[in-house]
């Protein structure tokens, strides 16, 4: 028993003292948000543009006027879209499913999440509606499988995460093919993350659209070593030291500009299952606002920390939606 307690304390200690990777390095939530945001924005905008009716873990969108959706006219009160949340729970495992349905009751996308751990709780439905979901494993979670598929059950994207005492493995898949794995090794005074990039090819066919991808190359890795009170070390495939900028350029050109971008196009296609929506554009002038925009501009110009720019823009959108940023600009012609 004593040994167990000691082991628990050691493992707890390791977790508590995990050295974080630099904020500029994308984690699972940043990568997934590259394309999931399109769907979340669509659902949020549906709530702003149409009548929402909440049911038991369901939200249905209807209109008080006839709406043209994908070429057919939906009459007043007819269902324009819906979101259904379903959960199943067994010992140490929680399965969640969100079904996104568009006009004519056509299923747009299905989002599945399987989580293992202890004291697991389904997300509140209010968070589901807002698209709030954190994929990064929490302290009480050891495993997560996250998948997006279409109505035929074809897997579009998935990520599998598994955490052990001092390690974590995250594998990303596009059309069932692995394109990235990130292996973390946590030590009390350091965190090592190995990003391994895989080539892939695939074809995704839908009505009116086809995405053909041939992104074949020899598997290679880049490594990040973050040590307490020291500069972060970035290593290339041959173990040579590289700069943060080179690391980020490789990540962006191999992941963000390729599979994540393709997934963005695919998700954009799937949002067309829903009726047209309009969003409010806002902006404001204040010193803090300008300062943050300037920093973001520099980050873009120097091609560093692109994900921080994205996070900033997301913050601005949230602030604008909460009325914290007001647009006083003259109307564009």
């Amino acid at each position: 028993m004593k040994t167990l307690i000691v082991l628990f304390i050691i493992s707890f200690g390791l977790k508590a003292e995990t050295i974080p990777l630099p904020a500029s390095v994308s984690g699972v939530d940043e990568i997934v948000s590259e394309f999931r945001t399109l769907l979340v924005t669509k659902i949020t905008d549906l709530g702003k543009n149409y009548i929402s009716t909440l049911g038991n873990n369901t939200i249905i969108f209807t209109s008080s006027a006839a709406v043209n959706c994908n070429g057919s006219i939906n009459q007043i009160g007819e269902r324009l879209g819906s979101l259904l949340y379903d959960t199943k729970q067994s010992a140490g495992e929680l399965s969640e499913r969100v079904v996104y349905t568009g006009c004519d009751s056509s299923i747009s996308l299905i989002e599945d999440v399987v989580t293992r751990g202890r004291d697991l709780l389904p997300l509140p439905f209010s968070d589901i509606i807002k698209g709030k979901r954190t994929l990064e494993l929490k302290d009480n979670e050891t495993y997560r499988y996250y998948k997006f598929s279409n109505v035929e059950g074809d897997e579009i994207f998935s990520v599998v995460m598994e955490k052990k005492e001092t390690s974590k493995q995250v594998n990303y898949f596009y059309l069932g093919q692995k394109f990235l794995s990130v292996n973390f090794d946590y030590q009390p005074d350091s965190t090592r993350a190995v990003f391994t990039y895989y080539g892939y090819s695939g074809k995704y066919v839908r009505k009116h659209s086809t995405w053909t991808t041939r992104n074949e190359f020899t598997t290679f890795s880049n490594t990040i070593i973050a040590k307490k009170n020291q500069f972060v070390i970035y290593l290339g495939d041959a173990g040579n030291a590289i700069s943060l900028s080179t690391f980020m350029n490789t990540f962006n050109s191999t992941i963000i500009d390729r599979p994540a971008a393709t997934l963005g196009y695919i998700f954009d296609y799937h949002t067309y299952y829903f009726p047209k929506t309009e969003s409010t554009k806002t902006g404001n002038q204040s010193q803090r606002f300008i300062d943050e925009l300037r920093v973001a501009q520099n980050r873009l110009l120097t091609n560093t920390e692109i994900n921080l720019v994205k996070n900033l823009l997301k913050d601005f959108i949230n602030a604008a939606e909460l009325g914290q940023i007001i647009d006083n600009r003259p109307k564009a012609n």
């Binding site: 972060v232 590289i242 700069s243 900028s245 010193q287 300037r294 920390e305």
Partner: protein
Amino acid sequence: MKGLCLSIFFLIFIMGLSSKACAENLLVSDSVFAARYPNFQNYQSLSLQGLQNYFYALISKSVVIQGPSHSIVLLYQNDKGETLLTINAKIERIRTENTLTERVLYVLPDSTIFDYSLKQSVAESAKLQIEESNDVDLLTMNFTNTKYDYELLVMPFQTRFIKSHEGNFEKALINFGFMDISIAIETKFLDNEASREYIYFYAGMPNPQTSIKVTVLDDESPMHNLNYIHTSSGSVMSPSLFFKGLQDGAQIFSDFSMISLVLIKGKGFPAIKGIN
């Protein structure tokens, strides 16, 4: 020159508004300034923004080799990963009982040195151990986490930023030595009154010292209405002029930020696309 003097004059205004409240229990606190002048928050940051961005990009685009005793080698690389320039850096720390001085030296290949130092201090009675700044923050001139009284000295630009407080009195000074400009901001908090005075000195001005002051008075009514009084060298001025002064003066900080990027290139640091 006249324009510059005017800008300098108004600069003073702006600076003071960055100070923090020192008196929590008073009816009039720092929030009265923040609420009234939300656009002017941290003029030290505004002044150093260019250099912060520059050094951050420099480090991001470099392979960083950490040596012993806080010595660092930056191998500045192009997008192909080829090293274009090697820059040595060193962080020195000197601690006394109540102070901590952290000095950063960048040494360029031609032995040119670019250095700056941050001296933080606490009152003897405080008996606090001043925490060391993070190395990355020091190298990127990010001093936003500085908690104590401090003096930041950028030697090659003869520029100083000082901030100190004593009880309900707070003083900030920015001295752009190479432009012969000094701006002092003094903030006082009394029971029902707060004031912030901007005092500037510019060597070429006929009247080298001018002050502009904003005083906030709580009328002590149950509603605690606040009255704002704006004065310039003792004479009341209209709020619109005061606000115009604040707006115009803000330009100086941005100007310094931009000038510093030209100067840093002149010291032999590489030009970084998108920054300088």
